[in-house]
């Protein structure tokens, strides 16, 4: 009795491989033959010997099997390729629809990928981005949480001392605009920050010259970027040179750092050592645990538990809490998450997700074109499939052929798509403001996703036609004239409906973006922003002399100074108020202004009065007495929050730990929007400052603006000869305020246009196919007396139905998506049903137009011609 050979594992592997290469007959012939010899050897010789022999026989036969197999496959492949290219050549219109659609889709996706890649690249130049955390503060109030990234000055230094896990730290304190000079060179510097020496490791700044340990150690040391060094010192060696800042402060350059990449959130021009700030501001600044003025960053070991660290920080912080009911909690946010996921930012990840989804939808629309046209026109290929099958082609070979064909299309479109994308990069750059460049296409993640897209597109668009075509029975397709693409029409309808759903959805989104932007731009803000010239004042001190200089001029209506402009008031501090329960405190925003603020911005008073020059005690902290620290104006929301019926004369107490400053309410202003309309109006208090002069706002007459500006400039020159005259019109700020939304809208305009373009291309293909298929029918109908209009209607009716059905899908989805998006805005436009109807109408008109081009041609054709056709 012969034992049956049971191959061991590596024999099995080798056989498996061989099985892939050979046809089943060849394989079994080979296997049975060597099994036979194997049995003989096993009977005579040792088992291992036979096993070894068996393995060797397979191995030595592999090369010839491989060569054989590759040769045949290559021959078939060249044949498939030839057929595919011939088909493209023969049916140029059809190939154009497929390739153009796919290419446009791929170009869109590629551009979106570039955009996304750029966004994800934020801080990627920093090798430690995963180990760096920003500390932020949470205020918990009854049922609301206020968060701010501003932290007390001494916090992070103390934490570093207490907690060993914190390897290094840096504060990041943005300094106001200051004039810096070197010899005769004088510029306003807008991007100066005070930082600790740890900043180089923490924020990934790279020093070209200087030592990162010591460069920012000493008082009056600074580090500048290459550009700044060039600007002030030209060819000279900047290290050791001195910049004079703010007229009196001499700062020595101790190092030069590389210019920052464009995708970073941190791009200061000049780093000032923190010890300088301590020296200038004194110990009152560095020991204040209550004011939250700057950002704090820490470096911790990799894989250190964040919760653990937060606990340690909490424990350490409790030692320094200045008051009993200090409700502040310290939390951590990872540096690498700051750009896209920040709880403070605009949640960039949302935009990215939207765009990726749109890109995928557009590509799918293009894939659907391919599927539809390939199956609809299957009659053209049916004979070929039949012949191949008769000649012995296996079903999976046919599948392979058609899949391969769709890959050829995908590859051609990819090449075209890359070209299209390269051409349109400047457009995207203009819209998003990112410094995008063609070379970024060569980055690994982009290349990989392109290959992925190619495979996916080839597969998605090729698989259905391949399965559909390979299932043809040779007998039926070769015998009779094949009923052209009758089966699968339902599936095709579903696909067209989904294409138009996508298009209609995108159109609705674009319209609603526009509505929301218009709504925000046209919303009355509660103050007037027209004809106001704003000067950023780099100096300090009273601006009264400047006001005096322009006082007599009738072209100047009013001048005011303020710490912040009315559209962006963002500073918080803690207050309690007369009649608050249990000394309840809340953080509310504030601005410090002078007497003319309300007048200049035309903010109406609802009750009480404005600040008055008749009283000297109204200045913020004007007297030494904390119980009478000055006067304050509140907005309506604040009065409502405090629950006062009669606000005038009531007290508001600002809490600085032990220090409690009491202010008297003298007036209530009407609510105005002092931040983006994304956010609701919150309580606000307005103080009178002695010298609030960060911004000087000048309301002017609308006539003869140029000469008014000249007059203002000459007054400015004599008031502050050191500072350049830099101004802007306040309403230009509002034009930029909703830039993000506008960019989104512009991109959506393009995308929805492209989506509907691709969908119409597909529809055009289907319509021309339908018209061609019904040529005879139309001819007969015409002879029997059908009118041309009637025929156009007949041919267009079906497509119209599809587009109408698409609305049923598109409307609820668009409604859901847009209400999600709008919920991010405190002040939002209502979703107008008219938008939906209009979008659908637009899609319908475009679809009808596309279809009618074909239908009219078919309907007008001479019936004698069409009946001759075959």
């Amino acid at each position: 009795m012969r034992r049956i050979h049971r191959p061991n594992l590596w024999h099995k592997l080798l056989l498996l491989f061989l099985r892939r290469l050979l046809s089943s007959e060849e394989y079994y012939e080979f296997k049975d033959d060597i099994d036979e010899v194997y049995q003989d050897i096993v009977e005579k010789d040792a088992r291992w010997h036979a096993d070894f022999w068996y393995g060797c026989r397979i191995l030595e036969s592999l090369p010839s099997a491989i060569i054989e197999c590759v040769t045949w496959r290559w021959m078939m492949f060249t044949n498939y390729l030839k057929i595919a290219l011939r088909n493209i050549q023969r049916q140029k219109g059809y190939a154009f629809i497929n390739i153009a659609g796919l290419a446009v889709g791929m170009a869109c996706l590629l551009l979106i990928l570039l955009y996304v890649n750029y966004e994800f690249g934020y801080e990627s130049h920093n090798p430690d981005a995963e180990r760096v955390y920003r500390i932020y503060v949470e205020h918990h109030e009854s049922n609301e949480v206020f968060r701010t990234s501003s932290t007390p000055v001494p916090l992070v230094e103390a934490l570093h001392k207490d907690i060993p896990a914190i390897e290094d730290f840096s504060r990041f304190d943005a300094l106001p605009r200051l004039v810096a000079s070197y010899k005769d060179k004088r510029f306003v510097e807008t991007d100066m920050v005070a930082v600790d020496p740890g900043v180089f490791d923490i924020l990934g700044f790279q020093l070209m010259t200087g030592d990162k340990k010591t460069a920012l150690q000493d008082v009056y040391s600074i580090v500048v970027t290459e550009d700044i060094a060039e600007k002030y010192f030209g060819e000279e060696d900047p290290v050791g040179k001195t910049l004079v800042v703010d007229g009196s402060l001499s700062l020595m350059v101790r190092g030069v750092m590389r210019n920052h990449p464009s995708n970073t959130n941190f791009d200061p021009d000049i780093l000032v050592s923190f010890s300088t700030i301590k020296e200038v501001f004194g110990s009152g600044y560095t020991t204040n645990w209550l004011s939250q003025v700057l950002q704090s960053y820490i470096l911790v070991p990799e894989d250190h538990s964040v919760e653990m660290l937060e606990k340690n920080i909490e424990a350490s912080f409790s030692k320094y809490r200045a008051k009993e009911n200090d409700e502040r909690r310290l939390k951590l946010e990872r540096l690498s998450r700051m750009h896209l996921y920040s709880i403070f930012g605009n949640q960039g990840i949302r935009t990215i997700t939207i765009f990726l989804a749109v890109g995928v939808l557009i590509i799918l629309t293009a894939c659907i074109n391919f599927m539809n046209l390939a199956t609809a026109r299957s009659a053209k290929r049916a004979r070929e499939v039949g012949m191949r099958k008769v000649a012995g082609a296996q079903k999976n070979q046919i599948i392979g052929q058609f899949l391969g064909e769709s890959f050829v299309y995908a590859l051609l479109s990819l090449i075209l798509g890359i070209l299209l994308a390269a051409v349109s990069i400047p457009l995207l750059r203009n819209i998003t403001g990112q410094s995008l460049h063609v070379t970024q296409m060569g980055q690994m993640p982009i290349l990989l996703s392109l290959v992925g897209t190619l495979v996916l597109v080839g597969f998605v668009s090729g698989s259905y036609p391949a399965l559909y075509l390979s299932a043809f029975r040779p007998v039926s397709v070769l015998k009779e004239s094949f009923g052209a693409g009758k089966s699968g029409t339902l599936f095709r309808k579903i696909l067209v409906v989904s294409q138009f759903s996508v298009s209609i959805m995108l159109i609705i989104c674009t319209f609603l973006f526009t509505c929301q932007i218009d709504y925000m731009i046209n919303m009355p803000l509660g103050f007037k922003q027209d004809q106001i010239v704003v000067i950023r004042n780099p100096g300090r001190g009273s601006i009264e002399p400047f006001k005096q200089m322009l006082a007599g001029d009738s072209r100047v209506v009013s001048i005011c100074g303020s710490v912040l402009l009315p559209h962006s008031i963002g500073r918080y501090n803690e207050v309690t108020w007369e009649g608050a329960d249990n000394n309840e405190t809340i953080a509310i925003k504030h601005n410090t202004v002078d007497y003319e603020f309300l007048k200049t911005y035309e903010i109406p008073l609802l009750a009480g009065r404005n600040f008055s020059r008749d009283f000297t005690t109204e200045f913020r902290e004007g007297s030494r007495d904390p119980r009478n620290a000055g006067a304050v104006l509140l907005n309506e929301t604040a009065v409502e929050r405090f629950g006062w019926d009669e606000p005038i004369g009531k007290k508001v107490i600002q809490v600085f730990g032990e220090l409690r400053l009491t202010f008297t309410v003298i007036g209530v202003v009407k609510d105005f929007h002092f931040s983006s309309l994304r956010n609701p109006i919150v309580p606000l208090k307005i103080f009178l400052g002695r010298q609030p002069s960060t911004y000087i706002s000048i309301k002017i007459q609308p006539q003869d603006i140029q000469s008014t500006l000249k007059k203002i400039e000459s007054a400015w020159k004599s008031f502050n000869p050191n500072a350049p005259f830099e101004y802007f019109f306040y309403d230009s700020v509002f034009a930029q305020l909703y830039q993000q939304e506008k960019n989104l809208r512009t991109l959506f305009q393009y995308f929805s246009f492209l989506a509907i373009f691709i969908a119409c291309l597909g529809l055009f293909g289907l319509a021309s196919f339908a018209a061609e298929r019904r040529t005879k029918e139309i001819g007969i109908r015409k002879i029997l007396g059908a009118s041309s209009q009637g025929l156009v209607l007949l041919l267009s009716k079906e497509f119209t139905k599809w587009v109408l059905i698409a609305n049923i899908v598109a409307w609820p989805v668009a409604y859901y998506v847009m209400s999600q998006w709008l919920s991010g805005y405190a002040y939002r436009t209502s979703i107008d049903p008219l938008v939906f109807i209009l979008s659908s109408f637009l899609a319908l008109v475009l679809a009808l137009f596309t279809v009618s081009v074909q239908s009219i041609r078919a309907a007008l054709a001479n019936p004698t011609e069409s009946l001759k056709y075959e």
Partner: protein
């Protein structure tokens, strides 16, 4: 006249000599006996396939065998064209070597 390649010549001669018992294993053994070297199975099958396409050999399925899991053993038999090809190559050989006398003893 199309000449056989050397590999075809060797395998076809083996098939010829084995008559009714020419299949993978025996052909390989015959080749070994003729040229004193074992050939890989793969090479033998490849050559046989080529000759089958050219019409020098026929491939015949034998009775299904239980040792082979119910599959047939495939036998090869030389065709008339194959026989003709052998005849041709033999003629070529003899005319090539005619008058050549290599002195093998050193």
């Amino acid at each position: 006249m199309v000449l056989l390649t050397r590999a075809e010549e060797i395998v076809l001669l083996a098939v010829y000599k084995l008559r009714d018992n020419a299949y993978g294993v025996t052909i390989r053994e015959q080749v070994k006996a003729d040229i004193d070297r074992y050939w890989a199975f793969g090479v033998i099958y490849k050559t046989l396939k080529k000759m089958q396409v050219k019409g020098y050999v026929d491939k015949i399925a034998g009775e299904p065998l239980s040792q082979r899991g119910g599959r047939s053993k495939y036998f090869y038999r030389i065709t008339d064209r194959g026989f003709q090809a052998l005849d041709d190559i033999a003629n070529v050989h003899s005319s090539l070597w005619e008058g050549v006398r290599l002195s093998l003893e050193k």
